[in-house]
Each structure stands twice: as structure tokens, then as C-alpha cells.
């Protein structure tokens, strides 16, 4: 008779290894339409002074959510692309950004009240560059790092996919859900 315990252990090991199940990658997608999701609370807490939070408006064809890593002082998530490659765009929320060497350009309609800077780093053999969005209390940068041979026009797709969410929206959501204050910009002062 086969031992089910041993088979189950082997199966779990195989599944875990083959699916590369690990403590990195994956995560909750910060969709602009799901402002009640816990990922926005965590993003807002990572940079409490930031009045805007990055989010994904919609995924263009071939794009998907790669993963996130949010900690105090830095909220990061990244998108993968079937043409641009894994980790094609990384979005980071920080207290401030170093825009040295970047050129200011007009913000897109959903980037109102921000200052936008771009710094293309290289075009060949692969496109790399950074787009900075500066606003009151924080900064968001989109770092493009496309696979070799991928068109730089993919950056336009990525910029269209990404958007901003006012922190005030999350503050209100949290207050409605718990009656508590999400410490930081747009919220009453917190204890301690």
C-alpha cells in the first residue's frame, strides 16, 4: 500500500518548487478602482506625507502585475510585459526624488497638480529611463527597464496604465471602515 503522507509531502514539494512559490513577488494589485484595498493603506503608511498614491488604472494588452514590496519610506510595485519583459516598469513612492539630469515636461490629464520630469537613460540595446512625478509631500517614479529589442513606445502604454489616487480618498475610506485615522497627510494628528 502506498503511503499517502509521503506522496502528499512530495507533491507539495514539487508544486512549491515548480510554481516557484516564494516570499517574493505576487501581492495585491493596487487598482485605482479598488481604493478600499489594504494595499493602499500600506502605501499611504509607507510615505505618510505623500498626498498622492500610485495605482494601476487598467492593464493594456500584454501587461500584468509583477509584485510589490512596501516598507516604511518606500512603496514599490512593478509590472511585467510580454514584450518589455519581467519587471519592465517599477513604480516607487518616496518622500523625495533626485531629478538631476531630468527634463520637465507637461503632466498628463490624470497627473494634474504634479511636476513631471523625464530622464531617458538609454535607447539601445534596451530602453531604460525614469519618469518622475513630484507633488506635495512625496514623489513617484516610474523606472523603465525593457528587455533588449523591446520598443520604447511601450513606455507610453505603461504611463497610460498607471495613474494617481489622492491620499484623501484612502483616509476617508479608512475612517468610514474603522472610525480611525490613517496618520499622515490629510488626516487629523495621531497619538504619540
Amino acid at each position: 500500500m502506498r503511503r499517502p503522507g509521503r506522496l502528499i509531502s512530495l507533491a507539495v514539494l514539487a508544486v512549491l518548487a515548480l510554481t516557484a512559490c516564494s516570499t517574493g513577488g505576487g501581492g495585491r494589485t493596487p487598482l485605482c478602482t479598488s481604493s478600499g484595498d489594504g494595499v493602499f493603506v500600506l502605501l499611504a503608511q509607507s510615505v505618510p506625507s505623500a498626498t498622492r498614491l500610485p495605482c494601476v488604472a487598467e492593464f493594456p494588452a500584454g501587461w500584468s502585475f509583477g509584485g510589490s514590496n512596501i516598507s516604511s519610506g518606500l512603496g514599490r510595485f512593478w509590472l511585467d510585459s510580454d514584450r518589455g519583459g519581467i519587471h519592465a516598469v517599477e513604480v516607487s513612492l518616496r518622500r523625495s526624488c533626485d531629478t538631476a539630469g531630468a527634463i520637465e515636461e507637461q503632466p498628463a490629464p490624470d497627473e494634474a497638480n504634479t511636476r513631471v520630469f523625464v530622464r531617458p537613460d538609454s535607447l539601445n540595446p534596451s530602453f531604460t529611463g525614469v519618469r518622475f512625478l513630484l507633488f506635495e509631500g512625496g514623489c513617484i517614479d516610474y523606472t523603465f527597464n525593457f528587455a533588449s529589442g523591446a520598443s520604447s513606445t511601450l513606455a507610453i502604454e505603461a504611463i497610460e496604465a498607471l495613474s494617481l489616487l489622492p491620499r484623501a480618498t484612502i483616509v476617508a475610506e479608512v475612517h468610514d471602515a474603522t472610525g480611525l485615522s490613517l496618520c499622515g497627510a490629510g488626516a487629523p494628528p495621531c497619538a504619540g
Binding site: 500500500m1 514539487a14 484595498d37 480611525l180 504619540g192
Partner: protein, 565 residues
């Protein structure tokens, strides 16, 4: 070849096996009555598992019903606000200092230190269980954190850095499983481990308090993390490295030996009385050095008022012995192919049933093996004991005077096994006893019926080498010619090399500094070497399977490397 007329064949009637009468009638265990040694996870283990279940159910409730979330957030915030109200600069410094214990470099230092110690002590099973438990916990906390998706505390100012979702608290869980792992792999069970557990409890309470004080974790998140870390660690170590089967000890000895004191000792006495009617008054482990596959015991049995107490010999088998046998056979199959029957046993019951069968077979054939008294069930499907005759005043052949009579008996024993169609497969000094100038054969677990000619030849060579260790090769060879033809002896030493001889025999020959194989080969007629490598589809598939499993295990560790480095 007809040698029966000339050789001094043994006579079954010559062996005087003592009779151990059942002092009390056996008693059938009624339905529903627990076995002599019930298997249980332990009260604390159950407690921690219940706590984990409670938290998981609560988490599901929070995710399903928003009212729950509101309740928990408010409850947590009230506690944190109270802690914030007692904040002072020195208390904050102290909390930050305690919180250093949860930093990744401290946890990695503790983990790698433990790994190094386990490698140094060659405690491989504990090492693998520890690594496995860490991976499972890291995946569990990560996935639970994502699933619950709870942010950091609300309504209070956070005083230190953090990473990721709050519930369960990953740093607290990591520290908890690391400390539990250290206690269960490095600290000897008993008073010291008890003290270690208290120390862990105090450390975790201090760490949870400091993280709540710093408002980096909610009370429920920190508690959940601590409970999860402890529960995963406890369950893993209690399940896969139970103290009584894999004891943490700094004494020399083999880990296969079970502790026969305490609850197990009482269970053995009760079980022997109920199942065999034997009134055991003392249990003493014996011959541990020569036995790695079981726990050998000498038990003193009360007979009747006008007779002195008698000894019986018993071998205690547990699941780890079955696993060890399975790994041993797997290793042999990969290294050498199927030299002989390498089919592993499925259960401890089958294991002990087979030894009982071989004992009875040897006994029925009149070979000088112990008389079997029966099997005793200690814990169903987990632990069994086989009871047999104890050879009073017998000494291991390595320490005995080996006379011409003993040499003849050893050679005759092999001849008779050849004639019957048996092979002992573990002929070594630890399994040959001399009792009043009579040779006795013990440990018949490896006996095989209708073995390969190769294995029979190896039995002969091993027997001749054991006998020559206490005498000399020419003398043994001269005696052997009475039982075997020169060609058979030549074949035996052509078949014997390396793995064919038991480890104890090989190491004794090394100690004595004699190359007995070469000496016997010089004495016997030349025989072409018999190859011991056997190639088959099964061997190739097994090797590939083991490599695949090793690759998957390494992949899992690499994909979770951030938990270790």
C-alpha cells in the same frame, strides 16, 4: 558436492533453549482501551494548533464581515493608544533595543549559527526539519499577510521601520520559529529545554510588547505572529523529530536507539505482561554499539517463586527504523544496483513480523539462533518489540576465546544455511556470540530465503574473516576445507569487497591492520572477480527521481533564500 558424511553437522537437539513460562495469563485489550503507549502531539502542541486555528478563523471572519474588521482595529488601537500614553524616552530606547532581535540580520545570524552547529553535530534530520519549518513558516506568513492585507496600526505614530503587511507579524513569527528551532535541535530535553522554553516565552513577550509600544505591530498581529511561529516549529519538531525517537544528546551513541525509561519503560512492562504474560522487572539497553537498526534490550523476567529470574532479549522497533531501512536500501540501490532484495518495508508491523518469521525459521531448522517468544505492540503502527531468548553468559566473538570447535561451528553454520537455502546477510562480530564454547547467531533480521549465490558466497567470506580476526587465516582456511571446496572459498573471496562486508567487520580489520581478504585470496585458488555493480531500469529511474527531488528541494530553498541570507 556431498560433504554431509564427513562434516560434523550440527544437531538441533543439541541446543538447549530455556523455557520462559508465562507467569500471568495474557490479557486482551478491549475495544476502546488505549494502547500501552498512545501516540499524541502533547497538550502544548494541541494548544498551539488550536490557537493557530482560532486566528485563521478570525482572519477569515475579518475578511468576510467588515464589522469584525472594525471591531479588531478599534480594539487594537485602544491598546496601542494606552501604550503610546506611557511612552518615555528611556522606554522608547529600551523598546528599540529589544526590537533589534527581530531584525533580519539577527535572525539570520541565529539561524546560520544553528545550521552550523547541527552540521557540526551531524544532526541532519533536525537540520532538514528546521530548514523545512522555516520555509513553511515564511510562505505561510507571507501568504497570510497578502490574504489578510492588513496595514500597519492606525491612529498612532509608528516609531520604527517596517516591511510589508502587518498580520501576522512576520518578524515575530521568524524570531519565534528560530528560537523554537534552537531549543528543539540544540538543547537537551528535560530541565534545560524546559528552561529554554520559558526563556523563549519571556523573549517573545518582551519583543511583542516592544513592537506594540513602537506601534509597528497591532497586538493581534504580534500575537498571531508569535503563535504561528511557535506552532509551526513545535508541530514540525514534535512530528518529525520526536524526543524519544531522535533525542538531542551530546553523548556518543547512535540516534536510532529509543529511550526506554519513563512512559515507554512503563508501557513495555505493561505490554509484555498483557500480551505475552511476561512479568518484566527490569529493562536494560545492551549492545548499543553494534546495533543501529533497533534498540536492543535485556529484560529481566520474574519466573516463579522457587526459580531465579531469567533474562529475555528484546528489540524495540519504531517508525524511524523503517525509514532508516528505506533510506539504506535506496542508497544501496543507487550506488550498486539491486545486488539482492532491496525492497523496503512499508510499516513497523511488517518489519517486526518479518524478523519474527526469520527467527522461527532459523529455530525450526535447528540453527543456533535465539528462540522466539513473540511480538509486543507498544504503539499501534508506530512501535513494536520482538522478544526472544537471551544467551546467558554469552560474549561477543570479538571478545571470546575462539577454539577449533567454535571455528567449526561457524563454518558449519554457513554450510547449513547454504543447504537450507538461507543467507544471514549480516555476519559480523556483533552478531556472533560464544556461549560455553558454543557459537550463537543473533540478529536474524536480514536473513533472506533463497538468496543469490553471490550473497551466500559473501556470508562465507564474512564468517571466515570474523573467525580469522581472533585466530589466523591459514587456520580458518584449513577448517573451511572440511565444509567447502577450494573453489567455493575462492568464489567467496572473489565476491567480497567493500560494501559486501558489514561496516563493523571492515573497521575491525582496519584496526587490526590485516588484509584478511588478500590473505584468503592467496590461500584459495584464483577466481575471477565477481562484479557488484548491477545496472537496471529501476536503478536509473530511482537515481533520476532522487536527483529531481534534490533539485526541487534546492529550488525551493533558493526561491526563498531571503529567509536565510
Amino acid at each position: 558436492m556431498t560433504m554431509d558424511a564427513t562434516r560434523p553437522a550440527g544437531n538441533p537437539a543439541q541446543i538447549d533453549h530455556p523455557r520462559i513460562p508465562a507467569r500471568v495469563p495474557p490479557r486482551r485489550r478491549p475495544s476502546g482501551e488505549p494502547p500501552p503507549l498512545p501516540h499524541h502531539l502533547g497538550r502544548t502542541g494541541k494548544f498551539w494548533l488550536i490557537m493557530v486555528a482560532y486566528f485563521v478563523i478570525t482572519a477569515i471572519g475579518v475578511l468576510t464581515f467588515p464589522t469584525f474588521l472594525r471591531f479588531f482595529e478599534r480594539w487594537d488601537t485602544e491598546r496601542l493608544r494606552w501604550l503610546v500614553s506611557i511612552r518615555t524616552p528611556w522606554l522608547t530606547k529600551m523598546a528599540l533595543a529589544v526590537n533589534v532581535l527581530t531584525t533580519s540580520w539577527v535572525i539570520r545570524l541565529l539561524r546560520w549559527g544553528t545550521f552550523a552547529a547541527l552540521i557540526a553535530f551531524r544532526r541532519w534530520r533536525h537540520l532538514f526539519v528546521f530548514i523545512g519549518a522555516i520555509i513553511v513558516l515564511e510562505l505561510l506568513t507571507y501568504q497570510l499577510g497578502l490574504g489578510i492585507g492588513r496595514g500597519r496600526p492606525l491612529g498612532v505614530t509608528i516609531l520604527t521601520s517596517w516591511t510589508g503587511y502587518s498580520t501576522p507579524s512576520q518578524p515575530v513569527a521568524s524570531l519565534a520559529i528560530t528560537l523554537i528551532g534552537m531549543a528543539y535541535t540544540l538543547v537537551v530535553p528535560g530541565k534545560h529545554r524546559y528552561q529554554a522554553k520559558w526563556a523563549i516565552g519571556i523573549i517573545l513577550v518582551a519583543v511583542c510588547f516592544s513592537r506594540m509600544y513602537l506601534a509597528v505591530d497591532q497586538p493581534t498581529a504580534a500575537t498571531f505572529g508569535a503563535i504561528l511561529g511557535v506552532a509551526v516549529g513545535l508541530t514540525a519538531f514534535r512530528w518529525f523529530t520526536p524526543n524519544d525517537v531522535f533525542p538531542v544528546t551530546y553523548r556518543r551513541g547512535k540516534s536510532a536507539h529509543l529511550d526506554v525509561g519513563g512512559a515507554r519503560g512503563e508501557a513495555i512492562v505493561r505490554a509484555a505482561k498483557d500480551q505475552l504474560g511476561l512479568d518484566v522487572v527490569a529493562i536494560k539497553p545492551v549492545g548499543l554499539e553494534g546495533s543501529g537498526g533497533s534498540t536492543p534490550l535485556r529484560m529481566t523476567v520474574a519466573t516463579s517463586d522457587d526459580e531465579p529470574d531469567r533474562y529475555v532479549f528484546a528489540k524495540l522497533y519504531a517508525k524511524n527504523h523503517v525509514r532508516a531501512d528505506r533510506w539504506y536500501k535506496l542508497g544501496r540501490t543507487i550506488l550498486y544496483g539491486a545486488l539482492e532484495d532491496e525492497t523496503p518495508f512499508g510499516t513497523v508491523r511488517r518489519f517486526v513480523e518479518y524478523e519474527d518469521y526469520t527467527l522461527r525459521l532459523m529455530y525450526d531448522e535447528g540453527l543456533p539462533a535465539p528462540k522466539p517468544y513473540g511480538i509486543v505492540e507498544i504503539t499501534p503502527e508506530r512501535e513494536y518489540m520482538i522478544v526472544m531468548e537471551f544467551f546467558d553468559d554469552a560474549v561477543e566473538i570479538g571478545d571470546a576465546e575462539v577454539s577449533d570447535h567454535v571455528i567449526d561451528e561457524g563454518l558449519d553454520l554457513v554450510r547449513r544455511m547454504w543447504d537450507i537455502g538461507l543467507a544471514h546477510r549480516d555476519v559480523k562480530p556483533a552478531n556472533l556470540m560464544v556461549q560455553n564454547d558454543e557459537l550463537r547467531l543473533i540478529d536474524v533480521f536480514f536473513v533472506q530465503v533463497r538468496p543469490s549465490p553471490w550473497r551466500q558466497a559473501v556470508d562465507l567470506a564474512n564468517m571466515m574473516m570474523v573467525l580469522a580476526l581472533r585466530t589466523d587465516a591459514p587456520r580458518v582456511y584449513e577448517h573451511a576445507l572440511q565444509y567447502f571446496t577450494p573453489d567455493e572459498i575462492g568464489e567467496a573471496f572473489a565476491a567480497t569487497r567493500g560494501v559486501a562486508s558489514p561496516t563493523q567487520l571492515r573497521s575491525l580489520m582496519k584496526q587490526h591492520g590485516v588484509d584478511l581478504v588478500a590473505e584468503f585470496r592467496d590461500l584459495a585458488p584464483p577466481h575471477p572477480p565477481i562484479r557488484i555493480q548491477r545496472w537496471s531500469v529501476r536503478r536509473v529511474v530511482l537515481t533520476l527521481w532522487v536527483l529531481l527531488m534534490a533539485f526541487l528541494a534546492v529550488s525551493l530553498i533558493i526561491s526563498n533564500w531571503n529567509a536565510f541570507a
